[in-house]
Point group: C2
Chain length 233, copies 2
Amino acid sequence: MAPNSATRTLGGRPSPAAEDYLKTIFALGSSGDAASVSTIATRLGVSRPSASVMLKRLADEGLVERVDRHRHLLTSKGRSDALRVVRRHRLIEAFLAATLDMPWDEVHAEAELLEHAVSDRLEARIDAALGHPTHDPHGDPIPPRQGDHDEAWHEPLDAAPPGATFRVERVSDRDSAALRHLAALGITVGSTLVVGEREPFGGPLWVRVGRRRRALGPGLSRLVHGAVQEGQR
Amino acid sequence: MAPNSATRTLGGRPSPAAEDYLKTIFALGSSGDAASVSTIATRLGVSRPSASVMLKRLADEGLVERVDRHRHLLTSKGRSDALRVVRRHRLIEAFLAATLDMPWDEVHAEAELLEHAVSDRLEARIDAALGHPTHDPHGDPIPPRQGDHDEAWHEPLDAAPPGATFRVERVSDRDSAALRHLAALGITVGSTLVVGEREPFGGPLWVRVGRRRRALGPGLSRLVHGAVQEGQR
DNA sequence: CAACAAAGTTAGTCAACTCTAACTCAGTTT
DNA sequence: AAACTGAGTTAGAGTTGACTAACTTTGTTG
Ligand SMILES: [Mn+2]
Ligand SMILES: [Mn+2]
Ligand SMILES: [Mn+2]
Ligand SMILES: [Mn+2]
């Protein structure tokens, strides 16, 4: 038992690696995908045997439950640990965006490392300084320090009917090049789009942003989530 | 060769543990103390064998030079690596103090962890946002991104003659309880004190802060560094 | 000078993570 | 039914950084 100096002071937390596994299982669960060994390994960029071994360890520690060979669920302890990391991650993103004007395509990578190094005390100060924010720069909801959390996603832009007015509520932060491109098109959280034609055979979806017409490839339009505006004519 | 996920993205840097060793050797060098295996081990809170082995590793990597059995010096590569960590550490302290009003007795512990997780890009943003600060909240000089750095300490309050007017320029950040106490006495970087009597046999040094008389034990007055004011009558 | 204490090193372990290679096991295909 | 394929696991090994126990080396002191 010889904790690395980087983790020494951060008490009862899972290791950085374990935190990343928990976060990944949580994310897969929220998006409805099965948390199989392979999916987790791919998401984390580790080999399948590594993921297999780590998942067994997490199961032994009571953080993960192996439902069947292809499905892993978080136990309630595991879920609460995962939520703590997710909370830190999103608060950090919000903090960097707010205090340093860091663009939304950069904050994720920074938070990916900092989430393991930010103490509870610092987390609390960030939360307070930002006025207890509820969403990060990508529209991801920030889990409360304790209590319930709803990770439900909105509808993908993908699925919005032609002619609809669509308000962007959330954009996946996984692909930073995509985020950069969306920003260049004028699309961020809070943007309102008018949905146009979808060209066939994998062609683009046309949308109007302000008075510009923009073409979004299917890979892009799947990343943008939001709601069709009702009362708006 | 299997980098931990927490370090994966931070390229050519020494490991967090190695960075802490380099920083410690640098600090010992600046304060004139010999960087022996034991001193380093004590400072880092590791066993002597651990330090012995790590120092050999750092020497093999060309970061540390073993002058004699009791004296370790940084090579120029080692010094430049150390300066990069020290720069990150102090910028982070300044950043936390500036953006979160974090008190000077808390910033050090946070920076101790964050210094290993902050990317070059984030470091640059922090530096720019603060207007390229030259000193951290304890008055420690922030090494430039490249080029020379002068770590010279001022005179300890300890050594100031009775009757002198003393301007506080720098306070050691090692003991956070001491920092808290000094702040409670109204003593921070920039404070001006009038030095009074030093009581014998390890008794306190009396100083005037504004219109209050304060007693500083020898342990405290050794932490406070600054300069006797000349032109001031 | 001999004895002792302090400092440094070596050897042997351990724990956490990762890897590759080689296997098992299921679920398709043909 | 046999063969292939994909997913999961086991085995063996490497890296980093820590530990304790047991030296050796050096320097101080009676
Ligand atoms: Mn992470
Ligand atoms: Mn996010
Ligand atoms: Mn550190
Ligand atoms: Mn400092």
